[in-house]
Amino acid sequence: MLKRKSKEAIFVHLMVAYPLLQFFIFYIGINFNSVLLAVKFYNIDTANFDFLPASNFLFNFKNVTHDLIYDSVVRGSLGISAIHYAVSLFISIPLSIFSSFCIYKKVPAAGFFKTVLFLPSIISGIVLILTFKYFVEYAVPQIAESFFDIKNFPMLLIDKRYALLMQILYGLWIGFGGNIILYTNAMSKIPDSLTEYGKIEGMNAMQELRHLVLPFIYPTLTTFLVLSVVGFFVSQGSLYGFYSANAPTYTYTVGYYFFIKVFGSKSTFFEHPYAAASGLIFTLIAAPLTLLVKYLLEKFGPQIEA
């Protein structure tokens, strides 16, 4: 008969075994395979991925680097990714913090706003995209014609002047809810004694936000800022949901450009080594950058004194 502790140990190990196996296969194994794939090519004669000859070992890396510098579509996608990042940093995060603060301060209808703003996070992404698409491409032109007599209203999701703006607006809309829940949760942990102290000192709301709330939620904010650096090369926005593999090139993010190389109607095996090499290059750029950002944020950010 096994001892109780042994039984518990077996139980725990069995429960953890399956997710651990998944981790080894779908993270370690796949990433290891991706590293190998970056130095291979798809051999049409054997339908296999074979190693590149030693004389041309860095073929895929050279191609990716060349395209990042010289290909107008790839360069453009870097710019668009940067725009999405800037919008996130300077608009989305501040707006989320401010909205969360309003909810934390229990402004009238705070509960209602909290629910409504969080709804996009719990509704299916495809439903949201379809809702947005139909509203923008059917309802808006109809409203423009009926109320403002504007005929031939542009297709905002395709028109070069507006397509990127629509993607940004959509990203702001759906990104709001998840951020608010995390920020309000962090704010709710602020000790009442500190808020009381702030009242006694005569702090107004903005001073409370700046001197009390921001330092307290800084660790949460740091997490968001660090993750956004990580996501720069990976995030494709919601482009695939909107356009499948047919997004206009003037909306491409870096993440989308490389995603459709390996998934969807335009992908082929020939592109897999190229995409694998790009993943490694982006890791080499993003990893130290992420660590640096984390270090700087932790070193120079506000500290909460006991």
């Binding site: 107008s72 297709m155 395709i158 095996f269």
Partner: protein
């Protein structure tokens, strides 16, 4: 007590979850109520459930089971029971390549695949024996009974493609996807849009008589439509390949079969450009057929009244475009033409059925709809006359849809018989009658069969089967197109204009109202020039 309760709850939850998992697995294996007859060989057929659908298989299954009721394919079993599995992603591309050897299906009717991958790795069975076996009796043009093989009947360019380097066949082509213009024939009659000319094929007495014969005629017709309050065109804004295929169809129609095919073989002589080799393939960007197609795009986008305001929308899927076109007949804003592929009518059955519920005149088969081959470029002032003035060159984009057999099936004989059966004249005709879609083989329809077809299907058949019609397929005949797939994915229409690179002609013209065909053509020649041509 509390610890035992928590652990007990965990055990019970895990057990319940596992039981649910297995229960759902068995549900997933249900055969939809039909009984499995263990005395018969079980043959599983996978069908890419796209525009062609699966309904046509019902009759095929019935006839096959009758024909082989006494066949012995496995020891201890007599006859065959056929099961049709319908799916999309499982029967296409890289997914199929990965899973075919472990799939339960013995025969698969696929969407587009990379045939070289399958042939090289033997991921589909060698079916050379049934493809080359002269086993079907037909009556030739002289009235003699002859035996023919699948290979004999197959479109010649596709037969060359599917016969692999080792001389074997590992798959055969499935369907044609002929792109062009679907038009509302009733609207044409109501408004008197037909003329008394011979139509695009230039031959009197054929089914396209009365349609605009030349591009100049067509432009006048489009303007007449607009002046009559009719919207000439709609199309799918979501899927670029419909618009690209339309452009390809104009290009092919202008160049003719031989010159158009150079764009995929890079081997031969162009009437105007001279010898084309893999090293000089970039010259094909100078083909006048490209300019012709760009002239069409330029004209369409010269006025927003020429196309539906929804056409360029990203929410305008192919189904939405079909609906818009069909339903417009009941509104004050009628749409005359839809840019689509030959299977569209079968795909739009739900819309037909819905409309038919209110008025049977709009139900499937009752609407008078037609297929318009693109008119000829003759007698225009802004582009040279095309060489082919009689007959048609049509463009098909689905040469890479195939029928293949699982390489390790234990029912190889039954599987091959099924492939052979579905390529017999009887079943080829059945598919065309049922769906309006043609297959790239030589076969006949009786007058009785044609009478059962929809007006659109009948017109499509008459045009495709005409002796002076050729069909060009966008097959990657040159291996360099596979090896450099990223380059050639967009190469037919990619253009570098200023700082922008795009391969979507319609979108470029939509975004740049001042864009001209010449400017776009120059952009194409900049994107694919001698200096950046990839085939060395």
């Amino acid at each position: 007590m509390k610890k035992i309760t928590i652990k007990g709850f965990a055990y019970v939850s895990a057990l319940a979850f596992s039981l649910c998992f297995f229960a759902f697995s068995f549900v997933g294996c249900s055969k939809g109520g039909a009984e499995v007859d263990e005395t018969k060989t079980q043959l599983y057929i996978g069908n890419f459930d796209g525009g062609v659908g699966s309904a046509w298989f019902d009759e095929v299954k019935r006839l096959f089971e009758i024909k082989f009721a006494d066949a012995v394919f496995e020891d201890g079993k007599r006859g065959v029971q056929v099961w049709i599995d319908r799916h999309k992603d499982n029967f296409a591309g890289e997914v199929l390549f990965s899973r075919i050897e472990s799939a339960r299906q013995d025969v698969i009717f696929t969407n587009e695949i990379n045939y070289p991958d399958f042939a090289t790795k033997h991921r589909s069975a060698d079916i050379t024996d049934i493809v080359t076996e002269k086993s079907e009796k037909i009556t030739d043009d002289l009235g003699n009974e002859v035996l023919v093989s699948i290979e004999d009947k197959m479109n010649k360019s596709l037969a060359d493609y599917y016969k692999w380097d080792d001389g074997k066949y590992y798959a055969i082509p499935f369907i044609d996807a002929l792109y062009g213009i679907v038009y509302d024939a009733e609207l044409f009659e109501d408004y008197g849009f037909y003329d008394d000319g011979p139509g695009p094929d230039g031959i009197r007495g054929t089914i396209d008589d009365g349609l605009p014969q030349t591009w100049e005629d067509f432009k006048k017709l489009i303007l007449l439509m607009v002046n009559s309050g009719i919207t000439p065109f709609t199309w799918s804004g979501l899927y670029q390949y419909y618009r690209e295929a339309f452009m390809n169809s104009i290009h092919a129609g202008y160049e003719g079969f031989n010159d158009y095919l150079l764009n995929y073989t890079f081997s031969g002589t162009d009437d105007l450009l001279g010898e084309i080799t893999p090293q000089t393939g970039w010259k094909l960007q100078q083909q006048n057929g490209r300019l012709a197609a760009l002239k069409v795009a330029e004209f369409i986008f010269s006025s927003p009244n020429n196309y539906s305001s929804k056409a360029m929308g990203s929410s305008q899927s192919h189904i939405a475009a079909q609906e818009e076109f069909l339903i417009s007949a009941t509104t004050s804003n009628r749409i005359a033409m839809l840019i689509e592929g030959g299977w569209w009518e079968n795909e739009a059955r739900d819309t037909f059925n819905e409309m038919g519920r209110k008025n049977s005149a709009y139900s499937y088969g009752n609407r008078k709809l037609g297929f318009m081959p693109f008119p000829k470029f003759i007698g225009g002032s802004d582009i040279s006359d095309q060489k082919q003035t009689e007959g048609l060159t049509l463009f098909s984009s689905h040469g890479r849809t195939v029928v293949c057999v699982k390489p390790n099936t234990t029912k190889m004989e039954a599987a091959k018989e099924f492939v052979k059966f579905t390529t017999s004249n009887e079943i080829l005709a059945h598919l065309t009658v049922q769906t309006g879609v043609t297959r790239p083989y030589a076969y006949n329809l009786t007058q009785g069969q044609k009478d059962k077809m929809t007006p659109f299907g009948r017109m499509m058949w008459e045009i495709v089967s005409h002796e002076k019609t050729s069909v060009a397929y966008n097959m990657k005949f040159h291996s360099g197109m596979y090896e450099n797939s990223s380059y050639f994915e967009n190469w037919p229409w990619v253009a570098k204009i200023g700082n922008d690179t795009d391969a979507d002609v319609f979108r470029t013209f939509y975004n740049n109202r001042n864009m001209t065909a010449q400017t776009y053509l120059q952009g194409m020649q900049a994107a694919c020039s001698e200096s950046n041509w990839i085939l060395g």
